[in-house]
Every structure is written in structure tokens, then in C-alpha cells.
């Protein structure tokens, strides 16, 4: 086949919703975009462990402790599945981690905000995992096979994350006045950062069009963000908490809630590394990795020795 016919048959598969598999032909740009998107996603999962891992040792009951630990552990698993999916595209996990540790690769900005009270565990599970699920469910049908399969596994595990978060919020909202206040405070702080998880406005999002064409992305940032606002507003009411944005109003004409313009200046600054916890999160990851170097080396050396012993 010629280059042209390769590309034509690739696009035909995409259009017919046939999955692309690792050994299939794919345009360079498709491969690069996928590596960037999947690794960024994987990094978000493992950096995302940190703000919640913070609270495992302080969880207010043994049940909450076990649930939170299992939840944060799941996120590590998600990182692992996603790194594996990216590895089928010809990059190693070590290379991806190197990009993360040197600041070349990005991860979701939400994890650069601090977790200050226990209610943040509720708000994160409910809003952050909720937003993540909304982003991720369509990716179960994304065009690249290993990515789609990883996402199926991730989404299956995510369902309990949002529930445990909402349950924390529910307990706090129905609790004492100070607990309710704690819940409200967390909602107010996490609302805007959660909305920013859907990425910049479509009008200024450079990658959206091509990604939609390739089915690496299935809905635009604006569509998903709006969908999230619409379902979450009703959940806030169910909790009996005040809306975190005074401009949230039902728009009959659009059939959606209107809300305030987000502070995109802040968004881009956090992306650039100026968020409240950027440096700390990265430093924690780098330290864990560097502290582990001698451990990984020892295991390799041991495996090598055993191999030669067996052969001898």
C-alpha cells in the first residue's frame, strides 16, 4: 500500500468506528497526540493521589480510612493502566515519568490545589471524580483500542469514588452546623477548579477539532462542562448547600444553567506552574521516584542473578 492509501484506510476505520490497534498503521500526529493525552492522563492519576493521600492517616473513622485508602490506591491503578496503554505506542513508562519529573509533561491542574479540611475529601470525590467520570466515559469508545480498554476498566472502578465523596458531603451537610459549614467551604473552593477540569473554552482550545475527527475526544470541552454544571446543581440542592456561584440560573431558552465566566487567568497560571501546590506535588513525586531508585535497581540485579543461576 502507498502512504496515501494507508492514510485513507486509517481514516476509513476511524469513520466506521473500528478501533485502531498498536500494530496498525497510524499517522505520526495521531500517535503523538495520543501519547500526550494518555500520558497526561496517567500523570494526573498519580499526582492526583497526593492531595487525598494527605488525609488517609487523618480520616475521622476507620471505615472512612479504609474507603479513602482503597480509593487513592485505585487512582494508582488507573495511572498504571494508562501508562501501559501509552507504552503500546512506543514510549516507556520511565520516559513518561522523566517528562513529568522535568516539568515537560503536564497533569490536571486540579491537583495543585490544597486539601485543607476533611470536607475536601468529600468535595474531591464528588466534584473532581465526578468531572473526571464525565470526561472519561466517552473515552471508553475512543478510537485507540488499548486506551479505550484501559478506560473501560478505569470507569468501572470510578463509580465508587464519586459515591464515597458524595456520601461524605451528605453526612457533613446533615451533620452539625460546623460540619455543614465545612462542606459549604469545600464546595465553594472546589467548584471553579472542578469546572476548569474540562479544559479551556472551545473557542481557544487548539486541539479539539483534530481530536474530535480522530475520535480521541468525543465531546467538546464546553459541552462536557455544561453537562457537568447541569447535573451538579441539582445535587447541590439535594445536599441543602448554597450554590457556589451567584450567577447560576436556569436558562429556559438554552435548556441549561447559566453560570459565571471562569477565571481563565488563574487557570493558565496554575497550568504554568504557579498554583498553590505545583512545586510541592512535583517535588513529592520526584522524591518518591529518586528514593526508590536503589530499590528498583536491587530488584533488577536480583532478577539478573537468579537468571544466571538458573542457566548455570
Amino acid at each position: 500500500m502507498t502512504q496515501v492509501s494507508f492514510e485513507a484506510s486509517f481514516q476509513k476505520k476511524i469513520d466506521e468506528e473500528i478501533m485502531i490497534e498498536p500494530q496498525d498503521y497510524m499517522p505520526d500526529e495521531y500517535r503523538k497526540t495520543l501519547i500526550r493525552q494518555i500520558s497526561q492522563h496517567a500523570h494526573s492519576e498519580i499526582v492526583g493521589m497526593l492531595p487525598e493521600a494527605n488525609w488517609i492517616t487523618r480520616a475521622p473513622s476507620l471505615r472512612r480510612k479504609a474507603v479513602l485508602l482503597a480509593k487513592v490506591q485505585d487512582e494508582g491503578g488507573h495511572g498504571l493502566y494508562l501508562y501501559s496503554a501509552a507504552e503500546t505506542l512506543g514510549i516507556t513508562r520511565d520516559q513518561m515519568l522523566h517528562q513529568l519529573h522535568t516539568g515537560v509533561a503536564k497533569y490536571s491542574s486540579i491537583f495543585n490545589y490544597p486539601t485543607i479540611t476533611w470536607a475536601d475529601m468529600g468535595a474531591i470525590g464528588w466534584l473532581v471524580d465526578g468531572a473526571a467520570i464525565m470526561n472519561q466515559v466517552p473515552l471508553c469508545r475512543t478510537s485507540y483500542g488499548p486506551y479505550a480498554r484501559a478506560m473501560v476498566r478505569v470507569c468501572k472502578e470510578e463509580s465508587f469514588h464519586q459515591r464515597q465523596g458524595f456520601e461524605i458531603m451528605l453526612n457533613l451537610s446533615k451533620g452539625t452546623p460546623v460540619q455543614k459549614q465545612m462542606a459549604q467551604d469545600a464546595l465553594n473552593r472546589w467548584w471553579a477548579p472542578a469546572l476548569m477540569m474540562f479544559g479551556p473554552l472551545d473557542a481557544v482550545s487548539p486541539n479539539t477539532a483534530k481530536s474530535m475527527e480522530w475520535r480521541i475526544k468525543r465531546f467538546t470541552n464546553d459541552e462536557l462542562r455544561q453537562r457537568f454544571i447541569d447535573v451538579t446543581v441539582d445535587q447541590i440542592r439535594l445536599l441543602g448547600l448554597a450554590l457556589p456561584d451567584e450567577n447560576i440560573k436556569w436558562n429556559e431558552e438554552r435548556g441549561h444553567y447559566d453560570s459565571s465566566e471562569l477565571n481563565w487567568d488563574e487557570f493558565w497560571n496554575v497550568v504554568k506552574g504557579n498554583g498553590p501546590c505545583n512545586k510541592e506535588r512535583l517535588a513529592t513525586r520526584v522524591k518518591a521516584w529518586e528514593d526508590g531508585a536503589w530499590v528498583r535497581e536491587a530488584a533488577s540485579a536480583y532478577a539478573e542473578k537468579r537468571k544466571t543461576k538458573k542457566a548455570a
Partner: protein, 274 residues
């Protein structure tokens, strides 16, 4: 009175696995590689699960006691208050409201995580003990304790495999890992003797048939540890003096910090549901 003995014995068992699980939980997200991060968290989850079963059982025992008997049990004011107000006690009250001098875990489990070798050494020493303890506890005349032992044993079998393999891997890995593993074994060994020294409570528990004579486990323990240490190409650690105290409520300074962190919400916002 035998129910008090059962209660205190159960609490001692629970404190051990809770503090161990709490220590390992602090490593979540900081492992040397994702796969081992997840492995370590699984162990921690098992231990917290065991602690919950034991505290739940302990809470049932307390709640079934007469008001007069209950009033004698605890120093902790918040617990005392609940009992005085005739409220029933929960697993969380026992874990979150008792202070360091009430805790009866052995000193080993409260020791710091340190580097990977130290973490492995502590688990290696503790999990082996747990395995022998739970195996002997299958014969406990207390059917709940025997059942918890049976369920936990399956988990611990995997824990000892994990820890032993890491001792061997590090011992027979690189020069650096060998040195670190040897150092960690040496540093933690002095906390192992306490596990096999019967305190008054354990003697009583053994006499009434619910508890285990831990002093009888020591020889097997020593042999099993030695086998692995040898396979790892390491020297058996030595101790001029074995540290004791945790089982009688006299702890190292670490426990106070562990509890301050673990219990802070329950103490800053008392009597609330979370």
C-alpha cells in the same frame, strides 16, 4: 472477670494491626514504583480491616457489660463520658478516643517507616509473628477470635511472602541494597523480643483458653526468620537488649504523634458522625 480479659486482649490485638496499617497507609502514593505502591496499600487495607473486626468485637463486649463494670474500663475522658451517658461504644470510639497509655500495641509497629529496607524489615518481623500468632489462635476457645484469626491468616500468608521476598531481593540485590537491608534488620530486631514476652494480660488470656502462649512461638519464629535471612545472604541481627513496654502501655515517642494525627478530627469535633 473473663469478659474484661477478652476485651483487653482483643484491644491489644486490634491496636497492633491498626498502628501497623496506619504506618503503611502513610506510604500510599510514595512507593518506589506504582506496582509496589499498590501492593503495600493492599497490605495496609488488610490490616485496617482486621483492626475493624477486632474493635467491633471489643465494642460488643463493652456494650454487653453492666454499667458499673463499664465505668472501670477506660481512662480516656471522652470514652468515660459516653459510658456515663449510657451511649453504646463503637469501633471508632475505641480507636480514636484512647490515649497512648491505653494503647497496647508492641513497640515494633509504631517505629517509623524509614526507607524501603526499614519498611520491609518491620513488616518482615511483624508479619511472621502475626502468622504464628493467628495460627495458634485458631484453637482459641473464643469462637469470634478464632474466626477472625482464620480469616486474617489467609491475608497474612500473603504478607509474609511479600516481606520475605523483599528481604531476599534486597539482601541478594546490589551492594547498596544489601547494606541497607542488613542495617534495617539490625535496627528493628531489638523490638522483636517484646512480642514473645508474656505480659499479665496474655498470661490470663492464655489461662482461660482464649489467648496464645506467645513465648512458645519464639523458637519457630527465630528459625523461620533465620532461614530467610540466610537465603538473603545476610547476617542474623543481634540485640544486646530487647526493648519492651508497648504491650503494657509504655511506648516510644512515636505513638503520641501517630495518635495526634490519627485522632485529631474526632478530638477537634467531638461526638459527630462522619
Amino acid at each position: 472477670m473473663s469478659s474484661v480479659t477478652t476485651l483487653k486482649y482483643t484491644l491489644q490485638l486490634a491496636d497492633n494491626v491498626l498502628i501497623m496499617g496506619q504506618r503503611l497507609a502513610a506510604l500510599c502514593g510514595k512507593g518506589p514504583i506504582l506496582e509496589q505502591d499498590i501492593a503495600l496499600t493492599n497490605i495496609s487495607l488488610d490490616q485496617i480491616g482486621q483492626a475493624r473486626s477486632l474493635y467491633q468485637y471489643a465494642a460488643t463486649i463493652v456494650n454487653n457489660m453492666s454499667v458499673a463494670d463499664k465505668a472501670q474500663l477506660f481512662n480516656a475522658p471522652l470514652l468515660q463520658e459516653k459510658i456515663n451517658n449510657k451511649l453504646s461504644i463503637t469501633e471508632d470510639d475505641l480507636a480514636y478516643l484512647r490515649d497512648a497509655w491505653d494503647y497496647r500495641n508492641c513497640l515494633l509497629v509504631e517505629q517509623e517507616n524509614g526507607d524501603w529496607a526499614y519498611t520491609v524489615a518491620r513488616s518482615f518481623f511483624f508479619d511472621r509473628f502475626q502468622y504464628l500468632l493467628y495460627t495458634a489462635m485458631l484453637k482459641s476457645t473464643d469462637s469470634t477470635l478464632a474466626a477472625i484469626a482464620e480469616k486474617s491468616l489467609k491475608e497474612v500468608q500473603y504478607h509474609i511472602k511479600w516481606a520475605s521476598e523483599w528481604v531476599i531481593r534486597l539482601g541478594d540485590g546490589t551492594d547498596i541494597s544489601k547494606e541497607k537491608m542488613q542495617q534495617a534488620l539490625q535496627a528493628r530486631w531489638e523490638y522483636t523480643g517484646e512480642m514473645f514476652t508474656m505480659n499479665e494480660l496474655e498470661k490470663e488470656a492464655y489461662n482461660i483458653g482464649i489467648g496464645v502462649d506467645v513465648s512458645q512461638l519464639q523458637q519457630t519464629y527465630q528459625q523461620q526468620i533465620e532461614t530467610i535471612v540466610q537465603e538473603a545472604g545476610l547476617q542474623m541481627p543481634t540485640a544486646a537488649w530487647m526493648q519492651t513496654g508497648g504491650k503494657n502501655g509504655v511506648h516510644t515517642e512515636h505513638l503520641g504523634y501517630i495518635l495526634a494525627e490519627m485522632q485529631y478530627l474526632q478530638r477537634a469535633y467531638p461526638n459527630m458522625e462522619w
